[in-house]
């Protein structure tokens, strides 16, 4: 297939970026989207041009590294990660717009690469449990109701790719933060820090220049892992509970 690509090129954070046009021929529909970009980059290198920078790692849909705005939809037309998107989802002669995630919390590093360390800082604000070191406890030492275990696991499938932020009209990271709060808050091991966790993670999220949630649902619709809007309701419930309990963020 033949494709016209319009790709965001930005050499560095300080320089203003713009869309650049590329024509690509002989694209196989069995290629993944990232392989198609690899082919383009090989061509650019042969032509002596700067290859397009984009994040990728496992290419199996589990690491959360890759993430591109493809034709205005986070991760493109299929609800999956960019690496798991294949060119058969496009047609011969298509023009494809490729942009980085756009968010105050995700500054562009180069071309399509954004700095997502804001997510790491939200995690370090409260996305953990405190556990004593030593021998691992017996798996059945702390019983977890099956329903809770399932819901916690669903939330834990979040790979932190940032598509929720990219898709949100408010640039909010709520689905990400909510997935973490839900994942830990549903398990017995997460209870001691449950109140301070939600207060601190939301404070960090707001401080990272992410927007507020207006429950539109764009995030969940593009989430490669299908994290549900229910997690956001759970986060809100936990935060209001923490405020009522007068939770002081633990330091």
């Amino acid at each position: 297939m033949q494709l016209t690509l319009r790709v965001w090129r930005q050499p560095s954070p300080q320089v203003k970026g713009k869309m650049a046009n590329y024509h690509l021929t002989d694209v196989s529909e069995d290629m993944s989207f990232l392989e198609m970009l690899d082919v383009l980059n090989e061509q650019l290198i042969l032509d002596g041009e700067d290859p397009i920078a984009f994040d990728h790692d496992c290419r199996e849909g589990i690491c959360g590294s890759c993430g591109l705005m493809i034709n205005g939809i986070a991760h493109g037309p299929e609800q999956t990660t960019t690496c798991q998107l294949h060119m058969r989802s496009f047609s011969d002669g298509d023009t494809i717009d490729i942009e980085p995630w756009r968010s105050g919390g995700f500054p562009v590093v180069k071309d399509l690469v954004v700095d997502r360390s804001a997510f790491d800082r939200i995690i370090s604000a409260g996305g953990f449990i405190s556990a004593p070191t030593g021998t691992a406890p017996d798996a059945h030492a702390t019983p977890v109701p099956k329903v809770d275990a399932d819901a916690a696991f669903d939330a834990a499938t979040c790979i932190g790719c940032g598509a929720c932020v990219a898709a949100c009209p408010n640039g909010s990271a709520m689905l990400f933060t909510a997935a973490k709060v839900t994942h830990l808050g549903l398990l017995p091991q997460g209870q001691p820090e449950r109140d301070s966790r939600v207060v601190r993670m939301i404070a960090q999220q707001d401080a990272e220049d992410f927007g507020g949630c207006t429950n539109i649902g764009e995030c969940s619709a593009v989430c490669p892992k299908g994290i549900s809007m229910e997690t956001i309701s759970r986060l809100n419930h936990d935060l209001l509970g923490a405020l009522r309990a007068g939770a002081v963020p633990a330091s």
Partner: protein, 247 residues
């Protein structure tokens, strides 16, 4: 249990691309975006309760001028002589004024936060999930706010009314509702309010943490049905006045 994927080489906050100082995480518990949303949800519910009472009160118009004016007068005399005149109305007015101001303050604050959250717009952005109602919440809210100001000047204070402040409530209502231009903007504003409520009811349920996967569909169906019934109840009045069923 720590789930962190370090995605870039740069440690800490990357320089340059993000002008302006980062705000320190607010340790205050009541400055968070979620708290502001909760303020919006609670004040929204208060205003919805008023809207329900107001809509039902309006239906007195079908019982004729005397009943409508008596209802208006009754609102001013509730509790007399144990309570001073206008006690109920004054309480409602204060609660509503505080609600409107808090709702607006939180909305503006979150609107500004959302602007900061996407400093550079997408060249191409497609809608996947958002509805007309959710997309128009902010400007729809502004339209409803402007309408409320006009509505008060028209029917409460009467200064913007053709029959003027000295006419009875019923006469003022008929004067406005038989003017096609006024009715046109009234209908538009009420439709904006309907969309605002359709998303607002769902959003408030989420914000107060009362939604889940099982309830999601029911909450959305209820939100739509509620908005349709409430706005229908309001719009029936200009309809019957314009068509001459009530004169």
């Amino acid at each position: 249990m720590l789930v962190a994927t370090v995605t870039t080489q740069q440690a800490g906050q990357s320089a340059g691309a993000n002008p302006g100082p980062k705000r320190d995480p607010k340790t205050g518990r009541f400055g968070s975006s979620v708290f502001k949303k909760a303020v919006m949800a609670v004040t929204g519910i208060i205003m919805i309760l008023f809207l329900i009472a107001h809509m039902i009160g309006n239906l007195h118009v079908f019982q004729g001028a005397a009943s409508f004016n008596d209802y208006s007068e009754w609102l001013r005399q509730v509790g007399e002589p144990a309570l001073p005149p206008r006690t109920l109305l004054t309480v409602i007015e204060i609660v509503l004024l505080v609600s409107v101001l808090a709702h607006g303050w939180a909305a503006v604050s979150l609107w500004r936060q959302a602007k900061r959250a996407r400093p550079i717009a997408y060249q191409t952005k497609k809608r996947v999930q958002q509805s007309y109602a959710s997309r128009t919440m902010r400007w729809g809210g502004v339209i409803v706010g402007l309408f409320i100001i006009y509505h008060l000047l028209d029917l409460t204070f009467g200064v913007a009314n053709i029959d003027g402040p000295d006419a009875t409530p019923y006469d003022r209502l008929i004067a406005s509702m038989s003017n096609p231009v006024v009715v046109f903007f009234y209908v538009l504003s009420l439709l904006a309010l309907g969309f605002h409520l359709r998303h607002g009811v769902w959003s408030a349920t989420q914000t107060l943490g009362q939604s889940n996967k099982r309830r999601e569909r029911a909450v959305n169906v209820f939100a739509t049905a509620f908005a349709v019934v409430l706005i229908g109840g309001y719009l029936v009045i200009p309809f019957v006045v314009l068509t001459g069923i009530v004169a």
